[in-house]
Amino acid sequence: MSVDVLIAGGGNAALCAAICAARAGAHVRVVEAAPKAMRGGNTRHTRNCRVAHDAGNGILTGPYPVDEYMDDLLRVTDGNTDPELARLTLERSAEIWDFLEAQGVRFQPSLGGTLSLGRTNAFFLGGGRSMLNALCRMAEDLGVDLRYGTRVTGIEIEDGFFLSATTEAGWEGHAPVRERVPARAFVAASGGFEANIDWLREGWGDAAANFRIRGTPYNTGGVLRTMLDAGADRVGTVDQCHAVAVDGRAPQFDGGIVTRLDCVPFGIVVNRDGTRFHDEGEEFWPKRYAIWGRLVAAQPDQVGHVVIDAKPADLFMPSVFPPEVADTIEGLARKIGLDPAALRATVDAFNAACLPGRFDHTIHDDCRTEGLSPPKTHWARPITDPPFRAYTLRPGITFTYMGLRVNRDARVLFGGAPSPNIFAAGEIMAGNVLGQGYLAGIGMTIGTVFGRIAGTQAAGALRNARDGVAS
């Protein structure tokens, strides 16, 4: 059977594109590089999607207007976004709930530990893999040809016009099967390049070797590289990504959500030399977790250590790995490979700078330091009660932002001109909206909105119809 629309990738954006193209009558083939058990790119590690809405609905606890969403986005990106595409994304995010529900995705109230997102973010019942399973079932029911363990090794493009792709089935095995797949439209929804350490080096140098990749090892950027080589326009810079501080003992790939550490606001964070480097009490953790990846990446050896005492031990989400524990600060320093005297000096200086106050981790309390640089502006309590605990931090990359420049129809631009039949959705084009920074749940928003646009437009391109509607 001939392929109308070929889609590279197997995550949320790819499946949304496949479903919309299939619903518009196209024969769709999806090639996913990962085996079935690991399908879905980073979608399998997600849990929610940030959606604009006029009113709460029993699960979402209140309204989240597009304008407020836009203010949030401008704040986290520092204005580093394409305003037209950003507004389009946020406006169309209002359709996501109903669209996903119609595909069999179910929602639930925000999870324990994430109540702060209960108004703005729609949480998937069972998490992102459950959501992805629903999309896959729907795609199968619509006759989409889903091929796992199949990667794209080459793309034939003439003047921005897609002719064919070369795919390799069973590429991780002993007998890969190559196939030239001509198609009338192509959707690149194959993720970022965060699992490609060599590519990360271009932006980060040797520090990249110390990064943990929170998501799939299959996002190596092959399709992105091929498209850029074929003359597609680039968006974003090579070092921009969604990075958080994760547990230093996390596996190199696929650690996912469990490797996060929520203890930073409750203690101090020191680097390899036992020195503090940023205000740990600047803001509530959900609002600050996304900056700590870059902070730790900037430290020597890309490592940080959170030090807390016994007081807040149970106040944050449990960690997947137990902390190092010791009865003295010096003993703790030895356990985590720091100079005991240096850590002792840092802790003493911090303790001496803590002003008396009423500790309350649910508000911006008045426990702060004075005369300390950097300061700790909230939740600062002397670290005095043994046993002392330490968690090691490493930069954890979620996904990269540099990708393909698109227009509002999700068409990839070649020298500023939109391609007639090449589209992009998801992480591979997220940099159009996210120039820097991150807003929890917006990755899935971009993937769903542009996946739908790409699938609809790709099906429309078959008939040269405008807006994906058959004429």
Binding site: G112, I257, D314, L315, M317, V320
Partner: protein, 388 residues
């Protein structure tokens, strides 16, 4: 493996695996909305020992969390909650059983139950051979007098109830003492009767793969209600016999028949359905143990339903005598093995639901919550999420 399993070592291994996985799940919590296990898990930081037993018996084995899990194999974290829970659950039945001796009954449960059913049926066939021929059509008491039935079945049934009660007491204490209130009981009964936790959070069970499927829950409902109706039928017969001076045989409109016939039909269809479902079960969700405890239980229930229905339809034919012997033999073996097989899953699970209801009423999740994001001002959400 020896024939005398080291229960203590087994317990440690199964509990340690559940505790290991719960440590990962508690840092993730994506499955929070699927069933009672995850909210119960979130109230604790340590899931060892009796807590693991409790969580394992709270798990209804719907399978949803396995298909939704980002850490399922081939991920190196190798999380498979339904399988780990099932292994510990079956092993816990043996540990809580009273008296403590018959662990072997659990290790080889399928074989033990099959042998006992066969022996009991043979014994009844032998004892009742040739009785009741030429008697009144459909008069079971001509084959086995009512007094003899009571003398044989009452002691074994009473002992089964006592043994089960002692087992539940052990189970309850293992997870720590807790008062039981009427409200907790009501909530747990609602959960148990509706099988709320066998629905994958509303999407359905996962039986043969990643497509949710309502049938396992339906078959379970049929089996449970069929069994309950059959039991009510027997009980109503007892009441009529002793208190209404109305001995068997009963006309079609009498309570034993009105309850028993639909009960038998439901029990037969439900048990057959569950057996078929088990054959289709994804190998990933099958337990490591080869005790065949579940199979022994559903096949026994199917045999009970089929022989009961056959008796109803063939009670006026010459095969009634042997058929009654087969049915009574099955019932006898069923009573005898009730405390030492899959039957107790419903009892322990209901007890776990009672504990869960109590905890959810009492507890708050300990972790800090950031305030809900509102433009321009922070809201204090309190110490933790309130749960529905």
């Amino acid at each position: 493996m020896t024939d005398t399993p080291d229960l203590a070592a087994l317990a440690t291994a199964s509990r340690a695996e559940v505790a290991r996985q719960m440590q990962i799940c508690n840092a993730c919590r994506y499955c929070e909305g699927l069933c009672a296990v995850f909210p119960a898990m979130e109230l604790r930081r340590d899931h060892a020992g009796g807590t693991a037993d409790y969580l394992a018996n709270l798990c209804h084995n719907c399978g949803a969390c396995h298909y939704d899990c980002q850490y399922a194999p081939p991920h190196p974290f190798a999380v498979n909650v339904p399988a780990a829970m099932a292994d510990l659950r079956e092993e816990s039945y043996a540990r809580f059983a009273w008296p403590s001796g018959p662990a072997m009954l659990f290790r080889r449960n399928g074989a033990v139950v099959a042998v006992l059913v066969s022996v009991a049926v043979a014994a009844f066939l032998f004892a009742l051979a040739g009785r009741g021929e030429g008697g009144a059509a459909g008069d079971f008491y001509a084959v086995m007098p009512h007094g003899a039935m009571v003398a044989v079945f009452l002691p074994v049934f009473a002992f089964a109830l006592l043994a089960i009660a002692m087992g539940v007491r052990r189970f309850w204490r293992a997870a720590g003492p807790l008062p039981i209130t009427l409200g907790d009981l009501r909530a747990a009964m609602g959960d148990a009767i509706l099988l709320r936790n066998l629905s994958g959070g509303g999407m359905g069970c996962m039986t043969a793969g990643e497509r949710p499927d309502p049938w396992r829950r339906r078959f379970h409902h049929w089996t449970f209600w069929g069994f309950a109706l059959c039991f009510a039928s027997t009980a109503s017969g007892t009441v009529l016999h002793y208190f209404a001076d109305w001995p068997a045989p009963y006309p079609w409109y009498a309570p034993p028949k009105i309850l028993g016939v639909p009960g038998g039909l439901l029990l037969t269809a439900g048990a057959a359905g569950l057996i078929a479902q088990r054959a289709r079960r994804d190998p990933a969700l099958r337990m490591a143990s080869d005790a065949r405890m579940g199979a022994a239980f559903t096949w026994t229930l199917l045999l009970l339903g089929v022989t009961g229905l056959a008796l109803y339809w063939l009670r006026a034919t010459p095969v009634m005598g042997p058929l009654l012997a087969v049915h009574l033999g099955t019932v006898f073996a069923f009573f005898l093995t009730m405390p030492y097989g899959k039957f107790v899953h419903g009892i322990y699970r209901t007890a776990a639901l009672v504990r869960h209801a109590h905890e959810q009423r009492q507890s708050r999740v300990p972790e800090a919550e950031a305030p809900v994001e509102t433009p321009g001002r922070a809201v204090n959400p309190g110490a933790g999420p309130a749960r529905p």
